[in-house]
């Protein structure tokens, strides 16, 4: 049985028929070819598939496809404006806050969600908000510094 869902991904309207036993993660990667969102553990533990749904950071691997009806999804592909990278993306590059890069899309979406909610987080708040994203390369220090640098510039102030 398939379910008709209408939703938005990075402000683009999408209409699909999906079976119930698919996840948002597989819809993004396989149906919409948005492969920026990664599958790590597939069980809500590593954060590689973090996206923003209706304004909140969530794990795409834990969302069933039929739940998508009416939702607004933001993925890492939506961060850049054309060829212009977002301040967080620029800062990750500047601070070398990635090595293999597999965790980076999820890191960026968690950081994006944090700075929208709290434009000037303390280091402890950054570490806390990023604790659901695992990185096996960097040791996290540069990721935290990249986020701090964006916060200092005040680009997320309302």
């Amino acid at each position: 049985m398939e379910y008709r869902v209408r939703f938005y991904v990075n402000n683009e309207p999408i209409e699909l028929s999906v079976p119930a036993n698919r996840t948002l993660l597989s819809v993004l990667r396989e149906d919409l070819a948005l492969t920026g969102t990664k599958e790590g553990c597939g069980a809500g533990e590593c954060g590689a598939c973090t996206i923003i749904m209706d304004g909140k950071a969530v794990n795409a691997c834990l969302i069933l496809a039929p739940e998508l009806d009416g939702k607004h999804i933001e993925t890492v592909e939506g961060l850049a404006n054309g060829s212009e990278l977002s301040p967080l993306q620029e800062s990750f590059i500047e601070h070398m806050a990635l090595q293999c890069g597999f965790c980076t899309p999820g890191m960026l979406m968690s950081a994006e969600s944090l700075l929208r909610e709290n434009p000037h987080p303390t280091r402890a708040e950054i570490v806390d908000a990023m604790s659901g994203n695992l990185c096996r390369c960097t040791g996290y220090k540069k990721i935290v510094e990249a986020i701090e640098a964006v916060a200092e510039k005040g680009v997320y102030e309302k």
């Binding site: 379910y3 809500g44 794990n59 834990l62 969302i63 039929p66 968690s110 604790s131």
Partner: protein, 276 residues
């Protein structure tokens, strides 16, 4: 994940009717953080998944000193730990809700789901046990209520009859002091190795422990000892030792039995030390 039908009722009555009809072939879902993982691993293979998120009456957190705290079945862990009334009047519950999983998980996971899953190490259980929380149940024959200590029966087993669902949890308001403590291998995104809550309410003590028995557990002998006489250092040590006799932890991947016993004593000693 096995194929299943996704059902989206808009009222409690509709949800109950679906669950009564499909019974064990159906599973309720709210935050999905546990259900989807268990379906992915084929530990759950339902034919029907009943998503509760389109039922408006299940949402929200309300509080008054007369009626206490009411947590709707759809209230997420992050909504609970950010709620001003929960933070002010139920800080142990706020801390417990905030200690579950990651920010991403807490944006979806619900407290009611945490309780209905009936894991021995459910983080929000021990504060709710100490507050004598009441589980509100709706079913084919109307509504009923159960104390939370009578609701969780065993590992992943709760006192729900055919067609019944939990619509919310009510937490009476009591001026309380005390602590929730979670011992885990990592600070964040981990399951409790042991968790516990110690509260002092109206001059009496309440102690509950998780992950040290098939279900979360109040410790009545320890509470009776504490309620019998002033809190001296000797009494605290006696309580910490007595608490270890009221639990029955096992060895597992997270820790061995002895470590858990030591942590039960530590949680009691540490919390009482701050209350003395």
């Amino acid at each position: 994940m096995k194929e299943f039908q996704y059902l989206l009722p808009h009222t409690v009555a509709e949800a109950v009717a679906l669950k009564e009809k499909y019974d064990k072939a159906a599973v309720f879902m709210a935050g999905a953080t546990d259900v989807v993982v268990r379906m992915r691993d084929y530990l759950l293979t339902p034919e029907y998944v009943i998503d509760l998120k389109a039922i408006p009456e299940l949402g929200g957190i309300t509080f008054s000193k007369e009626k206490g705290l009411h947590i709707g079945a759809l209230a997420t862990m992050n909504e609970i730990c950010a709620d001003e009334n929960v933070k002010q009047y139920y800080p142990t519950l706020a801390k417990a809700a905030g200690s579950v999983g990651s920010k991403q998980v807490r944006n979806r996971a619900t407290c009611i789901g945490n309780i209905v899953n009936a894991s021995p190490l459910a983080d929000t259980a021990t504060p709710l046990y100490c507050y004598d929380a009441i589980v509100e149940i709706a079913g084919p024959n109307g509504t009923r209520e159960l104390p939370i200590t009578e609701f969780i029966l065993f590992v992943r087993k709760v006192a729900l009859e055919r067609g019944e669902m939990v619509t919310g949890i009510r937490v009476p308001f009591k001026e309380a002091q005390g602590e929730f403590c979670k011992i885990s291998r990592r600070d964040q995104v981990d399951l409790s190795t042991v968790c516990g809550t110690v509260l002092k309410i109206d001059g009496t003590y309440r102690v509950a422990m998780g992950s040290v028995a098939p279900q979360p557990r109040r410790l009545p002998k320890t509470e009776a000892l504490l309620n019998g006489a002033p809190l001296t250092p000797e009494r605290i040590e006696e309580a910490a030792q007595l608490a270890t006799t009221e639990v029955s932890p096992i060895d597992d991947v997270r820790a061995d039995k002895q470590y858990r016993l030591d942590m039960v004593a530590y949680i009691v000693r540490n919390a009482l030390g701050k209350l003395a």
